[in-house]
């Protein structure tokens, strides 16, 4: 029990570092998929150190505060997830961190910031219902919203019990991670980063690190589908990682209407059918 607690605490503290490594490996893998050499794996940390040295320019204090709180609330959500808390609470906290980013985007007068915040809100609208349905399905299987109950020995592995929920999760993960074809919220070539455009220096660092935390959060969500089976969990995470990068490299961006239609017309019914199957 004590060692379990220590592992949880160290995982939460090390989460940004793990996320940075994931991001570094992802940039490398993506470059190799395009037959490039790619940046070194430690590149996100070099960026981190460089951003710390840049002059801090803020638009206004509330804008900077929303950026910092976006990072803090996301870290808190990840902490609740790792400590095995309530799944609904985790999803709510993650939504709150997105909402803080949206508020930050709307608090400036930059049109790109507004567009990005708008599209972030639409993305949240696209993936949130699916996540909630997946959480309810997990409740139907385990009898509890607590994530720690998934890891009980007598609960079946979620992947075998509800494979359709995993399919639905795979369909919405590119929206959550802002990957092509569903990267309308970030869209670097189009609205140059969206809601994060007005952040600079040390304040952009919070958003940059929050992006790493988002990776850990999403892959942790994938991991809980394997339950106690650690090897299956590692396989699922690596498979999802490769799937997301291959999808990111091979597809072009769709517009937000197509994204919303896809999420609500394809991913949501799959999650709903899965819920019906788990009930009966």
């Amino acid at each position: 029990m004590m060692s379990n607690l220590l592992i949880c605490i160290s995982l939460v503290i090390l989460a940004p570092i793990i996320g940075g490594l994931v991001y570094g490996i992802e940039r490398k893998v993506k470059a190799r998929m395009q037959r490039r050499i790619g940046p070194p794996i430690m590149q996100p940390f070099y960026d981190f150190m460089k951003l710390a040295d840049k002059r801090a320019m803020i638009v206004h204090s509330a804008h900077a505060f929303f950026g910092i709180m976006h990072f803090v609330s996301l870290w808190f959500a990840l902490g609740v997830l790792i400590f095995g808390g309530d799944l609904i609470l985790v999803i709510f906290l993650h939504l709150m961190s997105t909402a803080l980013l949206i508020l930050g985007g709307f608090s400036t007068r930059s049109i790109f910031s507004h567009l990005g915040a708008n599209r972030s809100a639409i993305s949240a609208l696209a993936y949130e219902p699916v996540l909630i349905l997946i959480a309810v399905s997990i409740y139907m299987v385990t009898g509890s919203f607590d994530i720690s109950s998934i890891f009980d020995a007598n609960v079946p592995v979620l992947l075998y019990k509800m494979p359709l929920a995993f399919v639905a999760l795979l369909l919405i993960l590119p929206i959550k991670l802002k990957k092509s074809p569903f990267d309308v919220a970030e869209a670097h070539q189009e609205i140059t980063g969206g809601a994060e455009i007005e952040y600079s220096g040390i304040f952009f660092e919070f958003l940059y690190t929050a992006k790493w935390l988002d990776y850990v959060f999403c892959y942790a969500l994938v991991f809980i589908f394997a339950g106690n089976n650690l090897i299956l969990g590692a396989g699922l995470v690596i498979g999802t990682f490769l799937y997301i990068n291959a999808l990111d490299n091979s597809t072009a961006r769709v517009n937000y209407r197509q994204m919303l239609r896809f999420a609500l017309a394809v991913a949501l019914p799959i999650a709903f059918i899965n819920l019906l199957i788990t009930i009966f």
């Binding site: 070194p40 590149q43 960026d47 150190m49 460089k50 840049k54 002059r55």
Partner: protein, 170 residues
């Protein structure tokens, strides 16, 4: 730990076309493509002045773009360097003296590296950016101080010359 040495490892680029014929621009894009792949040095084309370190400018300064150049330069947080890509951005090139052209970029903002060529080759751009990284590492707070212009600008052969009029640092 010295934070200064990390500037060299992750330079983020802001590319601005100040009225170029698009020749230098496609060479810059060729640098990002798989053959030259400048991302292996950690460079990203951000397109966002508030998060970038290097301002890559192509083309001569037109009357329309001069305010935007100064605006972009002012929006970039220090430390920053400016690299002029191609003959036009350095001196005005073949467009020098035309009615809508103001001359090189150094008429309006301080330039650190001039990359010659029409259009400049991707190898030259990479060389120029590497020289700029050396300058970026040496920049300190003293350089970041603003200077006040002491004299009125000189106009010779229809070009505005602001090179010799920089006054003392206040």
């Amino acid at each position: 730990m010295e934070l200064r040495k990390f500037r060299k490892k992750s330079p983020w680029i802001l590319h601005y076309n100040a009225g170029s014929c698009n020749g230098c621009d496609i060479e810059i894009l060729a640098c990002l493509a798989p053959k030259y792949d400048i991302e292996r040095f950690g460079m990203i084309n951000t397109g966002n002045p508030k998060q970038s370190d290097i301002l890559l400018i192509t083309g001569p300064v037109t009357k329309r773009s001069r305010e935007r150049i100064v605006e972009l330069y002012a929006q970039m947080p220090e430390p920053k360097v400016v690299v002029c890509c191609g003959s036009c951005a350095s001196t005005g090139g073949v467009f020098r003296g035309m009615y809508n052209i103001e001359g090189g970029v150094d008429q309006y903002i301080p330039v650190d590296v001039y990359v010659a060529g029409c259009a400049c080759r991707p190898e030259q751009i990479i060389d120029g950016v590497v020289v700029a990284l050396g300058i970026l590492e040496e920049k300190n707070k003293e350089i970041e101080k603003s200077i006040k212009l002491a004299k009125a600008p000189v106009i010779e052969e229809s070009q505005v010359n602001r090179r010799e009029i920089a006054g003392t640092i206040f």
